[in-house]
């Protein structure tokens, strides 16, 4: 199946789910009497989304790049590295609150360098610490932005 059609199918399902959820948008008694309510645009968009995606699925694919199947288009890609980076970003979001800006950022950069194959420890540490500390100094020292320390330090009684 052409990758474009796979995409259209995904958006078709998304549009259907969006349309169904739109029926659950609460309306007050007064707004129910109006012609244009909070549901009107979502309904119109859901219909447009369904119509357009069905058209893409139904019509022959013209775009040569879109004709390729997903496996053809993504064959040979470095999936494992990309997935590890995505997971790292997700973990970064989770630990930010607990470890605070400096530690979590250094962890993120070191993790990123390692995932991408960097093995020179000194270079990694220097780049990560220098970048994070410079940014922290600009924000806290020069711009006066308050960056809260990690929750963990409060829990441990360090702060």
């Amino acid at each position: 199946m052409a990758r474009e059609k796979v995409g259209a199918l995904v958006i078709l399902l998304f549009s259907l789910a969006y349309g169904l959820l739109a029926t659950e948008i609460p309306l007050s008694f007064l707004s129910q009497q109006e012609v244009f309510t909070a549901r009107t645009l979502p309904y119109a968009l859901a219909v447009a989304g369904v119509l357009l995606s069905v058209t893409i699925i139904g019509l022959p694919t013209v775009d040569p790049a879109g004709k390729k199947s997903l496996s053809e288009a993504t064959g040979g890609m470095d999936w494992s590295t990309a997935i590890m980076l995505v997971v790292l970003m997700f973990i970064f979001g989770l630990i930010m609150k607990w470890l605070g800006f400096i530690l979590s950022s250094i962890f993120f950069l070191l993790g990123g360098f390692t995932i991408l194959g960097e093995r020179r420890i000194k270079r990694m540490f220097f780049s990560a610490v220098f970048l994070v500390m410079t940014l922290w100094f600009i924000l806290s020292g020069l711009l006066g932005v308050y960056i809260a320390p990690g929750e963990l330090f409060y829990q441990l009684g360090v702060l």
Binding site: A8, F14, I25, S31, G49, V86, G93, G112, G117, E118
Partner: protein, 505 residues
């Protein structure tokens, strides 16, 4: 009108020549060239990455900085196209067609200098044209009502799809719809009703524009570098060509001068069209020049022709400037990058559109006049710095990619200080990456998202004025005119196919 224009220009000059604004133009050009030069990163990413820096600034200063980043990034993209045949983005692909062969022939300095002079000339001529056309359009547009705005936004959204590549119209339209759907998340501004928030407090204010822009462009572009192993910048070092001289002879300059003039005018008007942008500007200028060239000269195209290099470089810069016309006068972005800038304007609390011309002349004229300064800075500062900038291309991706990801995530986190935004950004990054792999464009999604709220508000207001009737769509002459333009643009691909079919018969 002339009096207004002159006083506006004076306002612009006074605004631009404030030390902080001069510094921002300089910083914008510098940062734009720096980011734009990195393979895989284009002006949209460059502008999105710099938006958090502008949040503490005055709106005019912020816009001046972002404008500098925009044309700096276009300029930077040309450098990687010429030196390593790796265009940072679509607008500089045409530059690589003749720029890289010229560099391979032993003239990388000359190629870069021609690109710089062409960019400067294209940008400057387009700014002059903009000074005349933008106020004219803005003064006409001040009589616009909600109905016209709604129609204009429809025009802007459909125009993006009209300039999509072969077979891309429906996909672009579908992405606009998805963008509009995302814009409905949060509290409805008029009724105060929550939509698609799933009871989450974080979603009450809707999806943050900057977060979506970073997720769909900066993060996905950085991940694309990783996914496509061949885009690894480690290999660029070996491909890099050494510099000799940045000199262009008088004869060569005379030879490319008519090309620069023609491409500037064409590029500007292409850029003014909503949805066209720098990519179309560069390719159309290249195509025009090739058609106009003698048969002998035509053979040189693609093999290092000076005209083949000057035309797209002039065209893309002129079009970039031209795309500011619909943004500043109508509040309709002319390209993906100006869509991101429109989002920034809204975030600054400025309502984009013709009223901005009247209410915030400092922003309107400040941006226009700062472009002059930006073009000069790009020429006199960046040109000698190119050899040093080019060393960036040798930064290994092991270091570059995590740093880009870090700045993208930080850019959003430091605005909201909410770690939920990082999680949401990762979610949108995965979705955007999947859609990209399925060959769906991202710029229309962002455009739909940015214009969604404004479009719904204007439609609602127009309906209230016209007693819940859609008759304004054909009763108001201005609205009707804009709607006819929308219909024309929507049916253009069909008409093209029909003409081809008839000719084929």
């Amino acid at each position: 009108m002339w009096e207004g224009m002159i006083s506006g220009m004076l306002t612009g000059i006074t605004t631009t020549l404030i030390p902080i604004n001069i510094a921002m133009v300089l910083m914008g050009c510098f940062a734009g060239s720096f980011i734009g030069m990195l393979p895989g990163l284009g002006p949209i990413t460059a502008v999105a990455l710099m938006i958090p820096v502008t949040y503490g600034l005055d709106p005019t200063t912020g816009m001046v900085l972002l404008s500098g980043v925009y044309y700096g990034a276009i300029f930077g993209g040309s450098t990687s196209s010429i030196l390593i045949n790796a265009p940072g983005e679509a607008a500089t692909v045409a530059t690589a067609l003749d720029g890289y062969p010229l560099a391979r022939q032993g003239y990388p300095g000359k190629a870069l200098a021609i690109a710089a002079y062409s960019s400067f000339s294209g940008g400057t001529i387009a700014v002059i044209l903009m000074m005349f056309f933008a106020p004219m359009l803005a003064s006409v547009a001040t009589s616009f009502q909600s109905a016209d705005y709604f129609a204009l936004m429809l025009l802007g959204l459909t125009a993006v799809s009209a300039f999509a590549g072969r077979g891309g119209v429906l996909k672009a339209l579908l992405m606009v719809i998805v963008g509009l759907m995302l814009a409905t998340v949060g509290t409805d501004q008029t009724s105060g009703i929550q939509r698609f928030t799933f009871g989450s407090l974080e979603l009450l204010d809707g999806i943050e524009f900057l977060m979506l822009a970073m997720a769909t462009f900066a993060l996905t572009e950085a991940l694309s570098i990783v996914l496509k192993r061949d885009a690894c910048s480690d290999s660029f070092k070996a491909k890099m060509i050494g510099f000799k001289s940045l000199k262009v002879t008088k004869k060569e300059f005379k030879f490319i001068l008519p090309t620069i003039l023609r491409s500037s005018i064409l590029g500007f008007f292409v850029g003014v069209l909503p949805g066209a942008g720098a990519t179309l500007g560069s390719f159309m200028a290249y195509g025009m020049e090739r058609n106009l060239a003698s048969k002998e000269e035509q053979k040189k195209f693609g093999k290092g022709s000076l005209r083949g290099l000057a035309a797209p470089e002039t065209g893309n810069n002129a079009a970039s400037t031209g795309s500011f016309v619909p943004l500043l006068t109508l509040g309709i972005p002319g390209s993906g990058t100006t869509a991101v800038m429109l989002g920034a304007l809204i975030a600054y609390g400025i309502e984009p559109g013709p009223r901005m011309f009247v209410e915030r002349p400092d922003v309107f004229w400040g941006v226009i006049m700062s472009m002059y300064l930006g073009n000069v800075f790009l020429l006199i500062l960046n040109l000698p710095l190119i050899p040093y900038f080019a060393r960036l291309l040798a930064i290994p991706r092991n270091i570059m990619v995590p740093v880009i990801l870090f700045f993208s995530l930080m850019g959003v986190y430091l605005v909201t200080f909410n770690d939920f935004d990082i999680q949401m950004m990762v979610f949108f990054c995965i979705a955007a990456m999947a859609l990209r792999l399925m060959n769906f464009p991202m710029a229309p999604l962002l455009l739909g998202f940015i214009l969604g709220g404004l479009m719904e508000d204007n439609l609602r207001r127009a309906l209230m004025i016209y007693d819940d009737s859609m008759s304004f769509m054909w009763e108001r002459p201005i609205t009707l005119g804009i709607n006819l333009a929308t219909i024309f643009i929507l049916t253009m691909p069909l008409t093209r196919s029909a003409i081809k079919y008839v000719r084929g018969k």
